[in-house]
C-alpha cells in the first residue's frame, strides 16, 4: 500500500494549521513523509504538547523542599514523605474516548494513569476518580444517554481497577446539563516508592538497546491524542476506532514485570506508551536524554498482519512500555518477561545524533530531530475575554422554600446523593490499606510497607467555576485541603486536571487562565506544589462548552493513626460545634439550583488566611484527641452536612443556631466556605472550647448528638425536624432508583 500524497487537505485532516506545517517544513528542510506528518500531528496536538495551555501552566508553583521530581519533568511528579519513602501521583482525563465508548474509554483512562505511576518506579497503591455527566433524571433521550454513559464509565473503571487489584477509594460524581454529550472522566493513581527507586524516562547511554515490552501493537486507538484535541460532534461516533481497548490482566502482568525489572540494575530508562504510543515514547525519551533513538517497525510485536508503519507508529494500543536497557543486560529482560509470559522485543538503540529515526526494514520512514517533536512544538497565547464578576443573587427574588421539604430534595439531588451505587462496584479494600472507606470527607490509606498513612481527596464545584472561574478554582483547592484536614491530614501536594472548552473561544480561554491563577494562588497559600496533571480542552458538544472544571486532587499525610477522623457522629450525648462563620452566600448554591432551578449569582468568597487558620485549629484539636467526627460544609450547606453526619451510625441530632435575622433557607443551605461541623465527647467540650479559643477562629456549640430518631434544627424562631432514617433512605436510594428503576 503506497502512502497518500501530502496535500493541504491531508495536512488539515491531521489538525496541523498552515503555519504549523510551515514550521514542519523549516525543521525538516523538506516535505515530510506521510509517517512524519502523522508524528508531528500527534506530538503537536494539545493533548501531547499543551500548545495552548503551557504558558498558563508555568504559573503553577511546582517546587519545594519535598519535591523529588517536578511537574513536567517525567510522567508523574514525586514527593518525599519521609524515612526514605516517596509518593508519585497524577490525575489524567479520558473524556473524549468515554463520550463515544464509555466502558473502554474509562477503563483505558484508568490503565493509562496506572502506567504513568509505575513508569516512575512506584508501586501503585490506590485510585480515585472525578466524573461528570449530564442529568440522569427523567425520560428524555438525553437523560437515557447520560445514564448509559454513567453506567458504562463506572463499569469500565470497576473492570480495570478491580481486575488489576488497585482499590478505588475516593472520588466525586456531579451531574449537570453542561456535560450532556461530553462527560468528564478524570482518573487518579498514587504509587509508593523509595527515593532510590525513582526511574527516569530518558534514553541514556549511546548504543544501549531499546526494548519494546508488553502487549502487541494493533490498530486500536489510532491517533487518539489528535482525536482528544478536537471538539466532539455528531460525527464523533465515527471516531470509535480512535478509542483504545484495555486489558487489565495484561497490565497487571506488565506492572509486576516492570517493577521486577526495575528492581534489577538493568534499566537505563523507561517510558510508557500512552497518548501517541510508540511515537511519543521514542521522541520523549530521546529528548529527555539529549540523545537520539532509532527503531525498526518490523521488529515491533504486532497483533495484526499488514499494518503500515503509519499505523504502528500512531497506534495507542494499551499495556505497552519502552525500556532502555543497559548494554549487556538484555538477558535480564528476557528472563523476567518470559516468566510473566509477556511479549518483548529489542527494536532499536540509543544513538548520538538527536534524531528520532524509524526504519521499516531498510527504508527510513521517519527522520526528525527528537527535540523538535517533544519540546519545540508551537506555543500559542490565546485571547482571553474580559470578565465581570457576577453579583450576589437578589434574595427578594428567591422565594423562601420550606426547609423541611428542601433538605430531602437536596439529599436526593444526584450530585449530593450517596454515591454508594458507584463505589460498591469498585473494589475499595484490596491491598488491605483502606482505613476510611469511600463516603467520608477524604479517603485514608495505610501503606503497610512504608508505615505511612496517606489521605486523598478530589474536588471541584464547577457551578462556582462557571459563574466565577477564578473563585471556583480557589475554592476547589481550599475544599480539598479542608477535606484532608477533616480526616486529620496535612496536605503535601496537588495534581490537577484542567477540563475546559475550545481555547480558541476567548471566554473559554479566560476560564482556563483564571482557573490556573486561582489554583496557583491556592497552592501557594497552602504551601503545596502542583506535581503535575493534565489539560483537556475542546470539551464541547454541539450544545456548547462544558462548565469549566479544574479538578483538584490533593494528597496529604496523617502523622498518627489516632488522628484519623471521619464524618459520622459517634455517640449520643456528644456535643456538636460549628467552626467558621455562616454568611449569607446563596449564590451558585445547590439550593438555588436544585430547589429554584437557578444557576446564578456570585459563588461564596474564599479567604485563604481564614481558611488556613480554621484548618490549623481543627488539626490542633484533632491531635489533642478531642474530635470524634469532622465534616465540612459544601454543596447543600449546613443542612446537608449535619444530615450526612447523622447517617453513618444512625444517630439523631438536636441543633439550635440561636437568634438570627437571616432567613432559615439561607442559614441551612448557603455555602459559605471554611465551615466544619465537629462532634466532641461531652466531657471534652470545655477543653475543646478552651483550645479553640486560643486559635482565634470563630466557633460555637450548636447542639448535641442524640439517640432519637430525628434530626431537629432550630434557627431563630423556626424549628424543623426530619426522621433520620427517612432522610438516609432518600439519600441512599436516589441514584440506584434512577439507574435501576
Amino acid at each position: 500500500m503506497s502512502n497518500p500524497a501530502i496535500t493541504p487537505e491531508l495536512i488539515a485532516k491531521h489538525g496541523l494549521s498552515p503555519e504549523e506545517y510551515e514550521k514542519v517544513l523549516s525543521i525538516l528542510g523538506r516535505e515530510p513523509s506521510f509517517e512524519e506528518l502523522g508524528v508531528f500531528s500527534v506530538m503537536w496536538s494539545e493533548h501531547c504538547s499543551y500548545k495552548n495551555s503551557r504558558p498558563e501552566l508555568r504559573k503553577f508553583p511546582t517546587t519545594g523542599p519535598s519535591v523529588l521530581v517536578k511537574a513536567g519533568e517525567e510522567n508523574a511528579g514525586v514527593i518525599d514523605i519521609g524515612d526514605g519513602w516517596a509518593v508519585a501521583f497524577k490525575i489524567e482525563s479520558h473524556n473524549h474516548p468515554s463520550a463515544v465508548e464509555p466502558f473502554q474509554g474509562a477503563a483505558t483512562g484508568v490503565g493509562g494513569i496506572i502506567r504513568d505511576i509505575f513508569t516512575m518506579g512506584a508501586r501503585p497503591v490506590f485510585l480515585m476518580d472525578s466524573l461528570r455527566f449530564g442529568s440522569i433524571v427523567g425520560d428524555s433521550e438525553q437523560a437515557k444517554t447520560n445514564r448509559r454513559l454513567f453506567a458504562g464509565v463506572v463499569a469500565g473503571i470497576a473492570h480495570y481497577g478491580n481486575c488489576i487489584g488497585l482499590p478505588t477509594i475516593a472520588g466525586e460524581v456531579y451531574f449537570d446539563e453542561s456535560y450532556s454529550g461530553n462527560p468528564l472522566v478524570n482518573a487518579f493513581c498514587l504509587g509508593i516508592l523509595r527515593h532510590d527507586q525513582i526511574a527516569r524516562g530518558a534514553a541514556e547511554g549511546i548504543g544501549n538497546p531499546v526494548f519494546y515490552v508488553g502487549a502487541e501493537t494493533g490498530r486500536d486507538g489510532l491517533a487518539g491524542a489528535a482525536f482528544a484535541s478536537r471538539e466532539l460532534t455528531e460525527e464523533s461516533k465515527a471516531d470509535r476506532p480512535a478509542v483504545q481497548v484495555g486489558d487489565p490482566f495484561r497490565e497487571k502482568l506488565l506492572l509486576e514485570a516492570c517493577l521486577e525489572l526495575l528492581a534489577t540494575d538493568a534499566v537505563a530508562g523507561i517510558q510508557d506508551m500512552g497518548a501517541a504510543g510508540l511515537t511519543c515514547s521514542t521522541c520523549e525519551t530521546a529528548s529527555r536524554g539529549g540523545t537520539g533513538v532509532e527503531i525498526d517497525i518490523q521488529l515491533v510485536p504486532q497483533r495484526a498482519k499488514g499494518q503500515t508503519p503509519y499505523e504502528v507508529l500512531l497506534s495507542e494500543s494499551q499495556e505497552r512500555m519502552l525500556v532502555i536497557v543497559k548494554k549487556g543486560r538484555e538477558d535480564v529482560v528476557k528472563r523476567i518477561f518470559e516468566k510473566w509470559d509477556l511479549p518483548y522485543a529489542e527494536i532499536g538503540k540509543v544513538t548520538d545524533d538527536g534524531m528520532m529515526r524509524v526504519r521499516n526494514g531498510n527504508d527510513v520512514v521517519v527522520n526528525v530531530p527528537a527535540r523538535s517533536l517533544a519540546d519545540d512544538g508551537p506555543l500559542y497565547s490565546r485571547e482571553a475575554a474580559t470578565f465581570t464578576s457576577p453579583a450576589a443573587p437578589d434574595l427578594t427574588t428567591v422565594p423562601q422554600a420550606n426547609p423541611e421539604t428542601s433538605l430531602p430534595k437536596l439529599l436526593a439531588h444526584p450530585s449530593i446523593a450517596s454515591k454508594r451505587w458507584v463505589w460498591r462496584q469498585y473494589d475499595h479494600m484490596v491491598r488491605t490499606g483502606t482505613a476510611v472507606l469511600p463516603g467520608s470527607d477524604a479517603a485514608v490509606f495505610i501503606v503497610r510497607e512504608a508505615n505511612k498513612i496517606l489521605a486523598a481527596a478530589t474536588d471541584c464545584n464547577a457551578i462556582y467555576c462557571k459563574l466565577d472561574p477564578g473563585v471556583g478554582a480557589r475554592i476547589a483547592v481550599a475544599e480539598c485541603a479542608r477535606n484532608l484536614a477533616c480526616s486529620g491530614a496535612v496536605p503535601i501536594g496537588v495534581t490537577d486536571n484542567l477540563n475546559f472548552g475550545n481555547p480558541h473561544k476567548p471566554e473559554n480561554f479566560y476560564q482556563l487562565r483564571a482557573a490556573v491563577e486561582g489554583i496557583s494562588e491556592g497552592c501557594r497559600a497552602f504551601g503545596v506544589p502542583v506535581t503535575g496533571g493534565n489539560v483537556s480542552l475542546y470539551n464541547e458538544s454541539p450544545a456548547g462548552a462544558i462548565d469549566p472544571t479544574p479538578t483538584i486532587s490533593m494528597v496529604g499525610t496523617i502523622a498518627d493513626a489516632a488522628h484519623i477522623t471521619t464524618q459520622a457522629f459517634k455517640e449520643a450525648g456528644d456535643q456538636i460545634f460549628l467552626i467558621g462563620e455562616t454568611g449569607s452566600e446563596l449564590g451558585a448554591s445547590h439550593y438555588l439550583l436544585a430547589i429554584h432551578g437557578r444557576k446564578e449569582g456570585a459563588p461564596p468568597a474564599m479567604d485563604f488566611a481564614k481558611e488556613i487558620a480554621i484548618h490549623n485549629a481543627l488539626l490542633g484539636v484533632i491531635r489533642k484527641g478531642l474530635v470524634r467526627s469532622a465534616h465540612d460544609c459544601s454543596e447543600g450547606g449546613l443542612g446537608v452536612a449535619i444530615a450526612e453526619s447523622c447517617f453513618g451510625n444512625s444517630l439523631g441530632a438536636s441543633i439550635d443556631f440561636g437568634a438570627t435575622d437571616q432567613r432559615p433557607d439561607v442559614v441551612l443551605f448557603n455555602e459559605t466556605q471554611g465551615r466544619i461541623v465537629i462532634s466532641v465527647k461531652s466531657a471534652d467540650a470545655s477543653a475543646l472550647e478552651k483550645e479553640l479559643s486560643t486559635t482565634g477562629v470563630p466557633f460555637r456549640n450548636i447542639g448535641e448528638v442524640t439517640d432519637k430518631a430525628d434530626l431537629s434544627i432550630k434557627t431563630g424562631a423556626n424549628s424543623y425536624s426530619w426522621s433520620v432514617s427517612s432522610l438516609n433512605e432518600i439519600f441512599e436510594v436516589a441514584i440506584p432508583k434512577l439507574m435501576e428503576g
Binding site: 487489584g165 490482566f249 516468566k339 462496584q425
Partner: protein, 233 residues
C-alpha cells in the same frame, strides 16, 4: 506453621493474604509462583483472590490448568489444609476440589461491601475457634459469587454439614435481603467432604486488623493454625 500462598498470573490478594497470615505469631507465609510443581514442606495452602488469567473464558477455568494445580490436588488428597478465597474458591470449584460453581451475581454488578456471615459448622479445621451461629462481619468483592449446585449436590452438602458460612443480616437471620449475589441457600462458603478444603467468596484477610475495619477474619486463620499445630503434636 508454613503456608504457601499461590500466585497465579492475575492474583491480586496474594500479598494481602500473606500479610494477614504473617500477623499471627509463628506463622511463615510464602508466595509460590503458579509455574512451580511442588508444595512439599507446606502445612497449608491458600489460593488468594484476584482475576487469575483475567477471568477470561470463565473465572478460575484457566488457572485450574496451571502447573501448580497438580501439587494443590495432591496436597488436598493428602489432607493438607487448602483455603480458597474469592477467585481461589472459583478455582477450587473449576478444579473439582469443591462441588458446584459460582455464577454471575444476580444483580449483574460487581459488589464490594462489608456484610454478615453466619457460622454454620464449627467442627472443621477452618472454623473450630468460632461458635455455632456466630455472626462475622467480613467484606465481599466479586462479580461472580452466585453459588449454584445441582439439587443432589446441595442435598449432599447439607447432609454432610459442608456449608460453613451463609450470608445473613446483622442479627444472624439468613434472609433473601441479606443475600448479595443470589447464591443458593445464601451459601458464602463450603468445605470438601473430607473437611480439609474450604472455599468462600468473602475476604477474611481484609478483616485481620482493627485499623482496617475489624478482626472478624482472624478466626478462620486461627482455626487453621490450631488444626495444624494439633496435627503436628
Amino acid at each position: 506453621m508454613k503456608v504457601a500462598v499461590i500466585q497465579f498470573p492475575g492474583s491480586n490478594c496474594d500479598t494481602d493474604c500473606q500479610a494477614a497470615l504473617l500477623s499471627f505469631p509463628g506463622v511463615q507465609a510464602e508466595t509460590v509462583w503458579h509455574k512451580e510443581t511442588s508444595l512439599a514442606g507446606y502445612d497449608a495452602v491458600v489460593l488468594p483472590g484476584g482475576f487469575s488469567y483475567g477471568d477470561y473464558l470463565r473465572c478460575g477455568s484457566i488457572a485450574r490448568f496451571s502447573p501448580i494445580m497438580g501439587a494443590v490436588r495432591a496436597a488436598a488428597d493428602a489432607g493438607v489444609l487448602v483455603l480458597g478465597i474469592c477467585n481461589g474458591f472459583q478455582i477450587l470449584c473449576e478444579a473439582g476440589l469443591l462441588p458446584g460453581t459460582l455464577m454471575r451475581n444476580n444483580g449483574l454488578l460487581f459488589r464490594c461491601e462489608h456484610l454478615h456471615l453466619r457460622v454454620e459448622n464449627t467442627d472443621t479445621p477452618f472454623t473450630s475457634v468460632l461458635h455455632q451461629g456466630q455472626v462475622l462481619d467480613i467484606p465481599i468483592a466479586h462479580g461472580e459469587g452466585n453459588y449454584f449446585a445441582e439439587p443432589e449436590t446441595l442435598k449432599a452438602l447439607q447432609a454432610n454439614n459442608q456449608i460453613l458460612v451463609r450470608y445473613c443480616d446483622a442479627s444472624g437471620n439468613v434472609t433473601a435481603e441479606a443475600n448479595p449475589n443470589g447464591s443458593l441457600k445464601n451459601i458464602a462458603g463450603i468445605c470438601s467432604h473430607g473437611r480439609n478444603v474450604f472455599g468462600l467468596m468473602p475476604h477474611p484477610e481484609r478483616v485481620c486488623d482493627q485499623m482496617l475495619g475489624g478482626v472478624d477474619g482472624r478466626g478462620i486463620f486461627q482455626s487453621m493454625i490450631e488444626a495444624v499445630t494439633k496435627a503436628k503434636a
